[in-house]
């Protein structure tokens, strides 16, 4: 019993410690963004752009494929469900709202966590193992400024943009299926969808996606910096980064959805 209690206690402190580290990392990354210039260590635009291309632009094809599939899937399920009430044409409402409020940000977040969260953990982790981080520090190059800040900024900017793209693609997927299944014209679908979606629906998704971007970046970076124990450690950190960031993402999603819909 005592063992159980101390085990829970230890796990709880570990979680608090880790979340504290995430917060510190966010604060420090932001600090360098705004005050790096004054300290003679600016966050380089080139580094941010490189990260944006890597995490954002390169993810466009896969985001397109998956969100298109999600749009089609939602249309199939929606039509199947609504057919029981003879209300198939109402499917547009279901697709439009669930895509913008939930599926767009979530699928993008999971994808980026898999692509970029793991890449960040692996890259920074192997740098840690090869003493490259130490080398940066002794050269007077702050590793958070040089490695973390650009990635955090890039993901916080790219995640909403990718989400917006995912929203449109998923709607397109829904439109394609509806026009095939229900004989509804593309124009009619878009017309109805756009009249149903409010600014608030899209904004809710985008607000979440900013938080998702922050989570993926920080969890990936923190796990990378925390690597010890050679190549095996890098592998472990990479897996951990992906699993943890997806878990935090879903939890944050639930919390945000709850509070944004009060």
């Amino acid at each position: 019993m005592q063992q159980l209690a101390s085990g829970i206690g230890r796990a709880a402190t570990a979680v608090v410690e880790e979340v504290g580290y995430y917060v510190a990392l966010i604060v420090e990354s932001t600090f360098w963004l705004f005050f790096g210039m004054a300290r003679g260590q600016p966050v380089r635009l080139a580094a941010i752009v490189a990260q944006m291309r890597e995490a954002g632009v390169a993810a466009v094809p896969i985001v397109f494929m998956l969100s298109f599939a999600i749009g089609v899937m939602l249309a199939i399920q929606g039509i199947h469900t609504l057919r029981q009430y003879g209300a198939e044409t109402q499917v547009v409402l279901g697709i439009a709202l669930s895509v913008t409020r939930e599926f767009g940000p979530l699928i993008t977040g999971v994808l980026v966590a898999g692509r970029s969260g793991s890449a960040l953990a692996a890259r920074i982790g192997s740098m840690q193992v090869n003493q490259e981080i130490d080398a940066l520090r002794v050269m007077g190059i702050n590793p958070v400024r040089y490695l973390a800040s650009p990635a955090v900024i890039a993901l916080v900017v790219m995640m909403p943009l990718l989400t917006l793209f995912a929203d449109l693609t998923a709607l397109f997927g829904g439109a394609v299926f509806c026009s095939l299944e229900l004989g509804m014209s593309q124009f009619a679908f878009w017309d109805e969808a756009l009249s149903l979606i409010t600014v608030d629906d899209v904004a809710q998704g985008l607000v979440k996606s900013v938080v998702f971007g922050l989570i993926v970046a920080v969890v990936g970076i923190a796990n990378g910096f925390g690597v010890s124990g050679g190549a095996e450690g890098v592998g472990r950190a990479t897996t951990r980064a992906v699993v943890l960031s997806i878990s935090y993402l879903v939890l944050a999603d639930m919390l945000f959805t709850y509070f944004l819909n009060r």
């Binding site: 003679g40 490259e132 130490d134 002794v138 050269m139 007077g140 190059i141």
Partner: protein, 264 residues
Amino acid sequence: MNAPSPAIEVENLVAGYGNRRILHDVTLRVGSGEIMIIMGGSGSGKSTLLRNLLGLDRPSSGTIRLLGRDTGRLNAAERLELQRNIGVSFQGGALLSSLTVGENVALPLREHARLADETIGVMVRVKLEVVNLGGFEHMMPAQLSGGMVKRAALARALAMDPKLLFFDEPSAGLDPVVSSELDDLILKLRDALGMTVVVVTHELESAFKIADRITVLDHGKVLISGTVDDVRNADSERVQDLLHRRSRPVHLSADDYMRRLAGE
């Protein structure tokens, strides 16, 4: 050759990780323009000493003065200023694998000096020529051999024309010829540029070849710190063990041994 003003002064340094003490009361002086070899077997604390000197770890107590500055009392700007005067070549090179050799050497210049790209390009080529790597600037670190990686790392360490150069295990993993070339390079650099050089190594041959003075560490304490001859003629049995590659006898009483086996 003891220069008047020391480049490094370490006084009563105590350091370790968590509750484990690695360095006990280490005191050390390195004169300006001197080549100091820090020697010791595995687990002697030489890597910990180096990490403390570099500011990668914080000592539990004691003071470290580099180039006359107390490293424990520097603000961020002063620390940065000091770091610009220090070059470090790590054991595995620690070149950033995502950058070319040239970009690696240019990194400190790009980050710390406001120079035109052309100027940086020229400086990078000069540094690479110094370490005999001219023409390799567009290669990636993964394409280089072990000796070339070390030399590239040295070129990066030299990029800011440091007054103080740290070299961790220059000959680790290199064949004797290449490691001897590296030794010659270290000597040449000191003579040409007047740098103070600290080399951490366990290679005896290379140590005796390049050292002005040698400090031998053992179990986190300084066994001896003196000229090459001082060390060669030292009375200490442990120093002689290290010099003649004798394995050390394990001194453990029967009771202690039983206690250890019982896991107490």
